[in-house]
Symmetry: C2
Subunit: 353 residues, 2 copies
DNA sequence: CTGAAAGCGCTTACAG
DNA sequence: CTGAAAGCGCTTACAG
């Protein structure tokens, strides 16, 4: 405010170089120092081939000397497009999502885009708040986990007019574009595989949350496989939003107590499965001889446990990259691919089943 | 552009309500609909007590009906302060940092701040690029992992004039403020504890990277404890930036090959320790009878392995919260605490040593 | 309690 | 290849 006004006066009067601690350098300063106008500095940054080589040199030198960092806030307001992408995931503590985010944000940064990330804690209402906050930054695109959202979330997405990608799921009626895989199909095939391998009393372990459509889809897949084969369905769950390892142990305990003849458990996540694996070891249960255990995700840990975990590999890094790439093309207006993109999954058989 | 101009004309001519898909609602529209000027709408949002209750009601109603989302980009440019905080961590895949980030970003969002996160992949040069990118958004504050950075990174921090917090370390000469704990002291005490518990040939396992000052500090602490006690120092490492579980197994292998009489290994991270634990199990080695293993971090998994992991608990969530709180006070200009904040650590003895 | 004017630092859309 | 003018959607600093 006052400081800025003084700075302006200074640059109009004498040579630059004494920018105060708070007075960050503007294009104007660069322009003066290189004997052009701000317009040409702007061009040098955005379309350098439209500026003469000598001018370019001078400008670049000035930028370097003054440590000029272009103000994206001003640029975004002016051009009505911000190179920013907003993402909401249920949790970062779950490595499945942190890997996804890491890959996505790296891909986006390579193209000059900044990623803002919010954690909804598996809560649709909180996802709505995050989105509303993020939309204030007028992002160029939005990526949401799952396909179930509050009405207001959907309404805000529509009104915003920006490209939306939903991910980690598959649906036939995405808000805009969906990139993921069928959770139901994946759990179905995992369960089918167990049946093929000779298991008969197959339980399901998960954390119940009406907000987690992925989890519920997986449960549906497990149920479908058993029903088709004419087997009983017995599941066990803990309540709450977190996917603590501990919960896996509790589920194993509960399931074996209620249905002692259970010979396999399909878990809705690797974290739960690893928890169950550890609990089995503590009890002296042999896996898979006494009880088979399968996970979902194929996190790094899955191949290292003893016994190594049989699981469903989901393409989490690939999902991050593809979401970024498709979104970028949507933003550029050059996307002409399908609205539903299925990246599949893979059953990985190791030792635990 | 053209669309915007048409939209303006529209709103000047007739009643509002037909905003196009791209034409997001502005304060101007809210003002017209509630019979005031944009200035009053701005007040209603920022200092509602300075607006008459009736006016406030009308404005809020209009905001709701039109689905107005204030444009932070314009607000930031105008007020010369953005409610945005930039953070750089080495990796999100490491749960130690994702927990930290989750806590920090939640704390910041509660106060109306948005967090932008970048992953440096344990690379100082890449940290510099991320920072330079982030500074373009004119964040209100910056949080950096570690205390070792490139010269240009430090220079940019100074020039930016925004509050900087370094974390996960302790140093006497922070760029601005440092909030963390002494990695050297923590590893020293872990090693001392092992000595007290009767171990004599204590190795150190870590991933070598000159960019990771935390790791090197921990190694120094281990060495110091052994040297003071007059014992030999034998370490083993793998090269590279990642903290894969696999590396822990490789380190165990190498260390036992080169120094078969090793009776304990201090690991620089829980991930490595868990990898070693699994490898020991695969080889039929008893932990801690044949070999003791300790970790660093106390991640969720640490208490669930069999045997449960003895480790150093670092206050990662607390660090996230405190970084956010201190930064917020620095931004507000009300911080008068120390420049060096030590949040300590804790040796957690379980079964693996 | 409310408003008119000016400005934040860029980019767009011309013009030359 | 370069520049002058206008404007992006808000907030600041008055004034009433």
């Amino acid at each position: 405010m006052a400081a800025r006004k003084i700075a302006k006066k200074r640059s109009a009067v004498g040579p630059v170089g004494n920018e105060g601690p708070k007075g960050s350098v503007r294009m104007q300063e660069i322009a003066e120092r290189s004997g052009v106008t701000a317009m040409t500095v702007s061009r040098a940054l955005r379309t350098p081939n439209k500026v003469s080589p000598e001018t370019l040199d001078r400008i670049r030198k000035a930028i370097d000397e003054l440590g000029f960092v272009p103000n994206f806030v001003a640029g975004s307001l002016s051009s009505r497009q911000s190179r920013m992408v907003a993402v909401s995931v249920p949790s970062l503590a779950n490595s499945v999502f942190s890997d996804f985010i890491e890959e996505m944000s790296t891909t986006l940064m390579d193209k000059g885009y900044t990623t803002i990330v919010g954690c909804s804690s598996y809560d649709h209402k909180y996802e709505e708040e995050i989105l509303s906050e993020f939309l204030g930054w007028r992002p160029a695109g939005v990526i949401l986990t799952g396909t179930s959202h509050t009405e207001r979330t959907k309404e805000m997405c529509r009104r915003s007019g920006v490209p939306i990608i939903e991910t980690w799921c598959k649906t036939n009626k995405p808000l805009d574009i969906v990139i993921g895989f069928s959770n139901q199909r994946a759990a179905y095939e995992m369960t089918r595989s167990l049946i093929d391998w000779g298991y008969r009393k197959i339980g399901f372990g998960y954390v119940a949350s009406e907000n987690n459509d992925r989890s519920m889809e997986r449960r549906r897949g497990w149920k479908k496989a058993l029903t088709e084969a004419g087997y009983e369905c017995q599941d066990s769950r803990t309540r709450g939003g977190s996917f603590a390892i501990r919960e896996g142990a509790m589920i194993l305990d509960k399931l074996l107590k209620e249905h002692p003849d259970t010979d396999a458990i399909v878990f809705g996540s690797d974290t739960l499965a690893v928890g169950a694996l550890m609990e089995a070891q503590r009890r002296g249960l042999r896996v898979p001889e006494d009880i088979a255990i399968t996970g979902f995700g194929d996190v790094e840990m899955a191949s290292e446990t003893v016994p190594a975990l049989t699981t469903v590999r989901t393409p989490r890094r690939e999902l991050g990259r593809v979401c970024a790439e498709v979104l970028l093309r949507k933003i550029a207006g050059t996307y002409d691919g399908p609205r539903v993109i299925d990246r599949g999954f893979e059953i990985v058989r190791r030792q635990s089943a």
